[in-house]
């Protein structure tokens, strides 16, 4: 019977199976960062356990690293968390891209950059955006700290086989429409919990035509639809992205690997537990106006009315969200004033994202009411951007150009949106207080965020001119 890529990878990784139990699944790559790992390493120490396969681990620090003045971390507790990761990696022999290492960056950006992320792998990390790596045709999912400890000790996890879902995106993307808009439109249409209990495969011609960077943006936000993992079957785009990267084999061995990767793709006629479809006709540049990623609309729309929702619980949630955001129902989205812009995060801080944003702002100036920062996803992205002169475009426009990290996506470091202020953000979550207590987040694509920085309010990138996206 024809199989999906999800079933193929799952079946290949079963170490042990027994009726009435979850499967014992082997983990090929364990990514580690400073926030969700200290308690796990401490657990190993308390029980006198070691890391079973340090060679299958890779650690970096990203969540609370400063994006400027790195030599002096003022926050004592953050400093301790960072030094704890250093000590743990040293003690247990885990490879680490330290804060001053040229490979440092957001863990979900550097995995693919280094070629650690590969098709067919099972990949975990104590971070829900681990789903990003699914773009390569891997089963990649976020885990809690107890599971981090379990993987460190045993290189396995007990996992119930999830259901499979196909999300098919048909048609061709319109002018000015980005990968971010596809995933925001999917979440708005089907809901924040549509993926609970499923691994999602994204299919359809619109997905096939996306670059690897764009595919990562889509898979990254699978968790915002409730799916622990989202993936895309590998193809030539996948293979060419990986060719020549540090952790993939070279020469003939690469061709052998590439052939194996391509054979993982979902077979014609394979069945999913569920399939949903969305047409690109329904997708325009998207922005969120509420307090979860499903509360978004096409930029030409108005904020929905409470009476548009049938269920009382949804009406209450809508009222609460608008009260928090300080926005009125029925208001045109383009009328929302913006005072902060954040271009960064594991969703949209790759080189292509920065190039797109730079194209929008080139020769223009950031609006006087706006504070705008660019936080490259990794030191590699930062260096490449600087070689291309992109940093200068941002700096001339009035953006700040920072060091790599998670930064204002979750505001664990000093990069915080002040209370009550609206931020156009290329990140992935618009929960209450996500970017700082009282902050009001509007999720959108890099081009849209860049345009908002120039105009001081949300704008439709299609009317703004110059988009090479």
């Amino acid at each position: 019977m024809a199989k999906t890529i999800i079933e193929k990878i799952w079946d290949e990784h079963i170490v042990y199976e027994e009726e009435g139990k979850p499967d014992l699944l082997y983990i090929d790559l364990h990514l580690i960062h400073e926030v969700t790992s200290p308690q796990a390493f401490e657990g190993l120490r308390l029980n006198n356990r070691k890391v079973r396969r340090p060679d299958l681990c890779y650690a970096t620090m990203d969540h609370n690293v400063p994006t400027r003045n790195r030599e002096q971390i003022k926050d004592v507790i953050a400093r301790k968390q960072i030094s704890t990761l250093q000590q743990n990696c040293e003690e247990f022999g885990v490879p680490l891209a330290n804060m001053d290492h040229p490979d440092q960056g957001i863990v979900h950006i550097i995995g693919p950059e280094l070629g650690l992320t590969q098709p067919g792998k099972t990949i975990v990390c104590g971070d829900s955006h681990t789903s990003t790596h699914g773009a390569f045709g891997a089963i990649a999912f976020g885990i809690g700290t107890s599971e981090v400890e379990h993987v460190l000790s045993t290189q396995t996890l007990w996992q119930a086989k999830p259901k499979t879902m196909q999300i098919k995106v048909t048609g061709e993307l319109g002018y000015g429409v980005a990968a971010k808009d596809i995933i925001l439109a999917i979440i708005a249409k089907f809901g924040i919990d549509m993926g609970t209990g499923y691994i999602v495969e994204y299919t359809g011609e619109a997905i096939r035509k996306l670059s690897m960077e764009e595919r990562m943006t889509i898979c990254n936000m699978s968790i915002e639809a409730g799916a622990r993992a989202g993936l895309i079957s590998p193809d030539e785009t996948t293979v060419e992205f990986l060719r020549g990267r540090e952790h993939v084999p070279a020469g003939e061995a690469f061709e052998t690997e590439a052939a194996r990767w391509l054979a993982l793709a979902t077979e014609e006629g394979a069945l999913y537990d569920k399939t949903v479809e969305i047409s690109t006709d329904e997708i325009e540049p998207f922005v969120t106006w509420g307090t979860n990623p499903s509360m978004g609309s096409g930029v030409s729309q108005n904020i929905p009315y409470t009476s548009d929702f049938a269920e009382i619980s949804d009406q209450q949630a809508h009222e609460k969200a608008l009260a928090y955001m300080g926005l009125e129902q029925g208001m045109p989205l383009e009328d929302i004033a913006i005072s902060n812009v954040f271009i960064g995060s594991c969703t949209n801080a790759r080189l292509s994202d920065l190039r797109t944003a730079a194209n929008v702002i080139a020769g223009r100036k950031v609006h006087p009411n706006v504070t705008a920062i660019v936080v490259p996803g990794s030191q590699t992205v930062k260096k490449q951007a600087e070689q291309e002169g992109i940093d200068q475009i941002f700096l001339h426009a009035g953006f700040e150009w920072r060091e790599s990290g998670c930064s204002m996506c979750l505001a664990m470091n000093d990069d915080i949106v002040p209370a009550g202020e609206h931020c156009a953000s290329t990140s992935n979550r618009n929960f209450e207080g996500r970017q700082g207590a009282g902050s009001k987040t509007h999720l959108m694509s890099p081009a849209m965020a860049a345009a908002a920085a120039i105009e001081g309010h949300i704008v439709d990138i299609r009317k703004f001119g110059l988009v090479n996206a």
Binding site: A78, K80, Q81, D127, S146, T154, Q316, A419
Partner: protein, 193 residues
Amino acid sequence: MEPINEINSVITPLNQKNVDTDQIISKEFLKRIERTGFGKYLFYHWRFDANDQPIKDFVLNDERYKESTILVAHDNFGCGSSREHAPWSILDYGFRVVIAPSFADIFYNNCMKNGILPIKLSVSEVEALLSKEVYNVAVNLEVQTVTGEDGVVYSFDIDPYQKKMLLNGWDEISLTFQYEDKIKAYEDKRIAN
């Protein structure tokens, strides 16, 4: 972890959908390197205003629920981040059971690893519970029931493997070590291929 079976308590009704882990435990409290001591930060920005004063109409500040060990919420509880600090803060605050129509996957798993029982009831059953002002229930994991003080009995499903882990409070890593030969055999087979 602490075994769990019978829990009797007044329920704390948190009538909200999509309660995300950023609300359960805000990021400024994630920098600690211990597993304990997170209870005082649970729902911090819903419990306290900008001057750290209690917000009166938030349910956790209601004296009637001070001793409660059972939290009831609406759909998709625990969505968002994988931070296990969320269940740590719930447990440290004093809750042992969370009842909702649905949970986010990672949060649900994280509860299981910490001796917190997440119970899924139907939307109408949860809405019935949320409509009560002060209501005591008896949870029994062994027989998989929630019994209200008025005698109404709600049954719930739970995976038998996870039920056993919770009832016994077993350390999963110790159990997995019993399969070490299987893990080794798998690794050898992969190297051979």
